[in-house]
Symmetry: D2
Subunit: 437 residues, 4 copies
C-alpha cells in the first residue's frame, strides 16, 4: 500500500482494526446461531453483544502482543476478547476453525471493496457520459496505427470508453458475487463440529451466500476471478489514459490534463505541461495487472488447503483494490476536467489536405463502375502527391484535375465526397446504443 496512491475509505477496509471488527461480528453471529441450536448458552452470545454495544476500542497492539507468543492470529484475538468479555467468551468459536473467520472476513472485505469500486465506476460512467454528450459532434480525426484515418467525433471516443467501462462494471458485479460467500464449516469443511445452520445464519447476517463446498478454505478460483477482473479494468484504464497521453503530445495537443495555476511541470522547463496523471495511471495499471498471476497461482492449493495463498492475499488484497480505487478516481478527475481543444482538433483534421476522404472517393469510383484495382490506383496516385506535399496540396483539387477520375465522377460528386457531415450521420445511432434512445 503506497499512501500516495490510496484513498481513505478503501484503505480503511484493510486496517487491522477493521479486520478485527469483522472477526468479532462473525464470531458473535456464530455464537448467536450456536445458542439458538442449544450448543452454547444464550448468555454467551448476549455477553459478546453487550460488550460490543459499548463500542469498544480494538486494541490492535495488545492482540499483536499475544500473537507474538501464540504465533496464531485468531487465537490471539479470541484470547484478547475473552480478557475483555470475561468467562462467557469461552463459548465463542465452538467447532469453528480459524479459516472460517479469516476467509469469511476476506469475503466481507472484498465485497466492501467491490462496492467502493462499483461506485467509482458509476462516477466515471457519469463523467464519461456528460463529456461524451458535450462533445458528441466535436469533429476530430480518427487514427488507426497513429495515422490519420477518417473523421470521428471526440464524443465518440468517450462513448466507446463509456461502453467499455459499463462492461467492466457488469464484470465487477459478477466478480463481487463470486467472492461474496461465507464458510463456517470447520477444519476440513465437513461441518463435523459445527452445524451448517451456523454458516447459514452468519452468511445471512453479513449479506453473503453460503459456500457450497469449502475445505477449511473458500476455494481460490473465486478470488482468482476477482483479481483477474480487476486486471481487465486496469487495462481499460490504461487504454483511456494512453488516449489522453497521445492527445496531449506537443504535435497533437487536442486535449490536456487540467493544469492548476500553481503547478510546476518541471524544474527545468517551465513551459511544459506533462500528462503526468495519465502516465501515472499507465503505471498503476501495470501493477494491478501484475497481481493477476499471483492470484491465479493461488488456486492450486494442496489437498483441503495449504496456507501459501495467505501471504499473497496480504499484498494483493489491499494493493489491488486500493490502487484500482485510486486509479478510477484519478481517471474520473482527468476526464471530468479534461481541457479539450476543438480548434486544434479541426486544425489537425485539415492538415492532411483531405486525404482522410480518400476512402469515400475510392468507393464512389467503384460504384461508378471502375474496377477495384483501378479505383485504388487512381486514388493512390493523387493521394501520394498530397502526402509528399505534406498537406500543402489538396486531394479534392487534384482529383478534379485528374482526367481518369473525372471520367467517372463529376466535380460535384467529388466535392460531395469531402463533406465532413457525411461521416456523422450515424453518431446518433451509436449514442443511442450506448446511452439509450
Amino acid at each position: 500500500m503506497i499512501p500516495r496512491y490510496s484513498r481513505p475509505d478503501m484503505a480503511a477496509i484493510w486496517e487491522p482494526e477493521a479486520r478485527y471488527r469483522i472477526w468479532f461480528e462473525i464470531e458473535a453471529h456464530a455464537t448467536d446461531a450456536l445458542a439458538e441450536l442449544g450448543v452454547v448458552p444464550k448468555s454467551a452470545a448476549e455477553a459478546l453483544w453487550r460488550w460490543w454495544a459499548t463500542n469498544p476500542t480494538i486494541d490492535v497492539a495488545a492482540i499483536d502482543a499475544i500473537e507474538a507468543v501464540t504465533k496464531h492470529d485468531v487465537i490471539a484475538f479470541l484470547t484478547w476478547v475473552a480478557e475483555q468479555v470475561g468467562d462467557e467468551a469461552r463459548f465463542m468459536h465452538q467447532g469453528m476453525t480459524s479459516s472460517d473467520v479469516l476467509d469469511t472476513t476476506l469475503s466481507v472485505q472484498l465485497t466492501r471493496a467491490s462496492d467502493i469500486l462499483l461506485a467509482d465506476l458509476d462516477r466515471l460512467l457519469e463523467v464519461l457520459e456528460r463529456r461524451a454528450k458535450e462533445h458528441k459532434l466535436t469533429p476530430t480525426i480518427g487514427r488507426s496505427h497513429g495515422i490519420h484515418a477518417e473523421p470521428v467525433t471526440f464524443g465518440l471516443k468517450l462513448a466507446q470508453a463509456h461502453a467499455e467501462f459499463r462492461r467492466n462494471r457488469a464484470r465487477l458485479a459478477m466478480a463481487r458475487e463470486d467472492i461474496a460467500t461465507c464458510a463456517i464449516s470447520g477444519a476440513v469443511g465437513t461441518f463435523a463440529n459445527v452445524d451448517p445452520r451456523v454458516e447459514a445464519h452468519v452468511a445471512d447476517k453479513l449479506g453473503l451466500a453460503i459456500e457450497p463446498v469449502s475445505t477449511q478454505v473458500i476455494p481460490r478460483d473465486r478470488h482468482a476471478m476477482f483479481f483477474a477482473t480487476l486486471g481487465v479494468i486496469a487495462s481499460s484504464i490504461e487504454r483511456l489514459a494512453t488516449e489522453v497521453r497521445h492527445l496531449q503530445r506537443t504535435e497533437v495537443l487536442e486535449a490536456e490534463e487540467y493544469f492548476s495555476p500553481g503547478q510546476k511541470g518541471s524544474s527545468a522547463m517551465p513551459h511544459k505541461r506533462n500528462p503526468v496523471l495519465t502516465e501515472n495511471l499507465t503505471g498503476l495499471a501495470r501493477m494491478v495487472r501484475g497481481y493477476v498471476t499471483p492470484a491465479l497461482e493461488n488456486v492450486a492449493l494442496w489437498h483441503e488447503r495449504d496456507i501459501s495463498h495467505s501471504s499473497v492475499e496480504r499484498y494483493i488484497g489491499p494493493d489491488a483494490t486500493i490502487t484500482l480505487d485510486f486509479a478510477l478516481a484519478r481517471l474520473t478527475g482527468v476526464v471530468d476536467k479534461l481541457l479539450v481543444y476543438p480548434e486544434r482538433m479541426q486544425k489537425n483534421l485539415d492538415r492532411m489536405g483531405g486525404l482522410v476522404h480518400s476512402q469515400r472517393v475510392l468507393l464512389a469510383l467503384t460504384q461508378a463502375g471502375v474496377s477495384r484495382e483501378d479505383a485504388y490506383r487512381l486514388v493512390q496516385r493523387n493521394a501520394m502527391k498530397v502526402w509528399e506535399s505534406d498537406g500543402a496540396l489538396s486531394l479534392q483539387e487534384l482529383l478534379k484535375g485528374d482526367a481518369e477520375v473525372t471520367a467517372a465522377l463529376s466535380t460535384a460528386e467529388i466535392d460531395e465526397k469531402f463533406d465532413l457531415g457525411y461521416h456523422y450521420r450515424h453518431v446518433d445511432t451509436i449514442f443511442d446504443r450506448v446511452f439509450g434512445g
Copy 2:
C-alpha cells in the same frame, strides 16, 4: 499449436481454410444486406452464394501467393474470390474495412471455441458427478498443509471440484457472450460508408450481438476478459491435477492415473507408475495462464486502433483454446478412469493413531467445562506422545488413561469422539448443495 496437445475439432477452427470460410460468409451476408439496401445489385449477392453452393475448395496456397504480393490478407482473399466468382464480386466489401471481416471472424472462432470448451466442461462435470457419487462415503483423511487433519470422503473432494468447474462453466458462458459481437462499421467505426443495418444483418446471421461502439476494431477488453477466464479455468485444472499427483505419491497412493497394460513408466525403473498426465496438466495450466497477460496488454491500443494485438492473437487464439480443450479432455479422462484405493485411504486414515480426532476431544473437554487453555494442554500432551510414537500409540487409549481427562469425560464419551461416522453427518447436505436434492 503443439500437435500432441491438440484435438481435431478445436484445431480445425483455427485452420486457414476455416478462417476463409468465415470471411466469405461475412462478406456474402454483408452483400445480401447491401443489396437489400439497394447499395449493390442483388445479382452480386446471388453470384456469391451461387458459387458458394458449389461447395468450392478454398485454395489457401493461391490466396497466400496473392498476399505475398499485396501484403494485405483481406485484399488477397477478395482478389481470389473475384477470380472465382467473376465480375459481380467487385461489389463485395463495399464500404467495409478489413477489420470488419477480421474481427468478426475472430468473434466467430472464439464463440465456436467456447462452445467446444463448454461441452468439454459438461463432460468433465458429468464424470465428476458420477465419481463423486460413487465415492460419496469413501472415507479418506482430509489434509491441511499436507498434514492429516480430519476425515473427509473422497466424494467430497470430487464434489468440491464439481462445484468449482460449474462456476467455471458459468464464467465461460459469460466470457463467450463477451466476445460474441459483430462489427461492420467501417474504417473508424462511424458507419460512414456502410449502413448499420448491414452490421445488424450479419450479426443476426452469425448468431452474434452487434458491437455497440467499435473503432475499426472490436474493443480488446472483451478478449482480455475471455483469455483471463481461460486462465482461471486452467488454474482449476491445475488444482485437481495437483490433488491427483499428491494422491499418487508412493507414500500416499490413495489413487492412481489409469495405467494401460502396455505402458512403460520409465526405461530405467519398470515398477514406476508416474502421474504423468496430471503433471502434464500442471504444465499446460502454466501455458494457458501465461497467455492472460499478453491479452491484458492488448487492451490499450492507440487511438481508434493499432495492430499490435494481431500478432498476439495469432498465437493465443489457437494456443489458449486448443491447449485448454486438450487439458479439459485429458482431465476428464483422468477422473473418469482414476484408480481409487479405498483400503489405502482407510489405512492412511488409521496411521496417525487417532490424532485426527483430537479436535473433537478438545471440544468435548471445553463443553464439559474445562477452560480452552486447559483442554488444549490436555489434548496436546497426549497427542504429542502419539505423534512421537509414529502412530504406534493410540490417542484414544492414552486419553482414557489420563486422569485429568477422565475427570471431565467418561470412557464412553471418549470412545464416542473417535467415531468416524460422526464426520459424515453432513455429507448429504453438501451433496445436496452441489448436485441438487
Copy 3:
C-alpha cells in the same frame, strides 16, 4: 510456432528430426565413453557411428508409430535405432535415463538458438551503429512525457538503442552459459549406473559444461534465467518499436518504416503508410514476455523431478526463440531501411517558438544573480505567452522585450541561449562512450 513469424534456421533447431539427431549424437558419444571405460564393447560404439556415417534419414513417422505403442519417446527412438543398427545397439543408453538425453538435447537446442540470437543482435548492433553515425548530428527534438523538451540528435536516439542492445547481448551471452550444461547422471543424478566420465566426455564433445548437480533433470532455474533474459530483450525491442511508431504518427512524421512500392497500407485508405512492422513487434514482444512466467513457474519441480516443465518447454522452447529471432531480424530491417526525415525534424523543433530553450534562459538568469524562484517566474510568464500562441510568438523575442529579464541578461546573452549547437557539444563524448574513441 507461427510460420509467418518464423525464420528457417531457428525453426530447424526445433524440428523433430533435429532433435533426434542430437539424441543420437548424445547416445553415440556416451557409448564411446562407456566403451572406453570397458562397460560396453567398442564394437557397439563403432556400429553406431558406422551407421551414422551413412548419413541415414531419421524416419520420424516410424519413431512416432513406436511411441504410440510404448508411450515413451526415448524408448521408441532407441528401438528404432536398434532396428537400423542391429544387435550391437543394445549397449546403447547403458545406465542412462531418458532425461539424460532429453535435457542435454534441450541444452544443445537452446545454445544453438542462443548463437542465432547473438548473431541477430550483432547484425542489429551493426545497423544501429551505422545509422547512429549517419545521424549523429541530425537535430531533432527530445521529448519527455511526449512533450517537447530540449534538442537531441537522431543519432543519440540510436546510440542509446545501441547501448541497450549491447547490454542485451552481454545478458544473452550469460544466459547462454547458464543453459549450456550436460547431464548424464542417471535416474536421480547419483551416477549410480553411469560413470561421471561419460558425462564429461559427452559434454566435451557437445561443447557444454557438466552440470554440477543434476537430479535426473538439469535444474530449471537455468532455463528460467534464459527465458527471463529473452523477455528483457523483447522489452527493449518494444521500446525501439514504440519510438518508431511515435515518429511515424501523422503529426510527427519524422521517420517512417520503409514502404515498398507494391505495398498497400489499407484496403480503404490508400494514402496510409502504417507502422505495421513496429506495431507487430510490439505484439511479438508481449508474447516473448508472456513466456517468462511459465518458465519461472517451472523451477519448483517436486523432489528430484516432475515432468510438468516438459509441456511448457514444448511451447516456449520453440515459440520464444523463434519469435525473438524473427523480431530481432524484423527490427534490424526496420532500422536498416528506416526513412528518416531531417527537414521534418527541424520543422518540429522550430514549432514551439523556442520554448525548448527556456531551461538555458532559466539557468542564465540564476547565474546572473536572480533567485531561482524569480527566474522561474520570469521565464514562465513569457513561455506561457508563446505556448498560448501555439508557437506563433517567439520566446527569444519576448524575453528581449521583458524589462525584468533584460535587467539581468543582455540581448546578446539572450540570443546565445537559443543556439542549437550548444546542445550538441557533448555528443562526441556520448558517442565515444558507446562506440569507442
Copy 4:
C-alpha cells in the same frame, strides 16, 4: 510493504528519510564538481557540506508540505534545503534535472538492496553447506514424479540447492552491476547544461558507473533485468520450500520445520505441525515473480522518457527487495534449524520392498546378455508382484526365485545389486563439484 514480511535494514533503504539523504549527497557532490569546474562558487558546496556535518534531521513532513503546494518532489526538497542552508544553496542543482537525482538515487537504493540480498544469499549458502555436509551420506529415497526412484542422500538434495543458490548469487551480482549506474546528464541526456565531469564525479563518490547514454532517465532495461533476476531467485526459493513441504507431509515426515515449544499449530488440531514457513515462502515467491512483468513493461518508455515507470517502482522497488530479503532470511532459518529424521528416511527407503533397485537388476541382466526387452519383462513381472503386495514382498527374494532370472544372474550377483552403498560411490565427486575438493 507488509510489516510482517519486512526486516529493518532493507526497509530502512526505502524510508523517505533515507531517500532524501541520498538526494542531498548527490546534490552536494554535484555542487563540488560544479565548483571545481568554476560553474558555481566553492563556498556554495562548502555551505552544503558544513550544514550536512551538523548531522541535520531531515524534516520529511516539512518537505511533504512544500510538495503539496509545488506538486514537485525535487523542487520541494531543494526549497527545504535552501531554507536550512541559506542563500548559498541557490547554486545547487545547476543544470541538472529532477531525474538526475531521482534515478541516481534509485540506483543507490537498489545497489544497497543488492548488497543486503547478496549477504542474505551468503548466509543461506553457508547454512546449506553446513547441513549438506552434515547429511552427506544420510540415505534417503530419490523421487521422480513423486514416486520412489533410486536412493540419494539428504546431503545431495542440499548440495543441489547450494549449487542453485550459488548461481543465483552470481546472477544477482550481475544484476547489481546492471543497476549501479549514475546519470547526471540534464533534461534529455545531452549534458547541455551540465558538464559530463559532474556525472563522473558523483558516480565516483557513490561507487556507481556512469550511464553511457541516459535520456533524462536511466534506461529501464537495467531495472527490468534486476527484477527479473529477483524473480528467478524467488523461484528457487519456492523450489526448496516445496521440497520441505513435501518432506513434512504426514505420510513422508522425513523432515520438519523447527517447532518452538510455545507454538500452536492450529486452534483445532493441537497435534498438527504445519510447514507454515515454507508455505509462506511459496506465496512470497509468487509475489516477487509477480513484480517481473510490470518491470518488463516499464522498459518501453515513450521517446526520451515518460513517467509511467515511476509509480511501478514505488511499489516494486521496496516490495520486491523487502519481500525477497525476508524470504531469504526465513529460508535460511528453515534450513538452519530443519529437523531431519534419518530413521524415517531409511524406513521410507525400505517400504517399497527393494523396487528401487530394479534399475540395477535390469542393467545387470542386459550386461549378462539378456535382450533389453526380455530383461525389462523379467524385472517387470517380479516388480509388479512387489508393488501389488504394497511392499510386503521383497524384490530381491522374488528374483532369486525366478528361474529365468537366475539363469542369467547368480544369487550373489542379485544380492550385490541391492547394496545401498553402490549408489553413493560418486557422492564425493558431486560434493567436490559443489564445495570444492
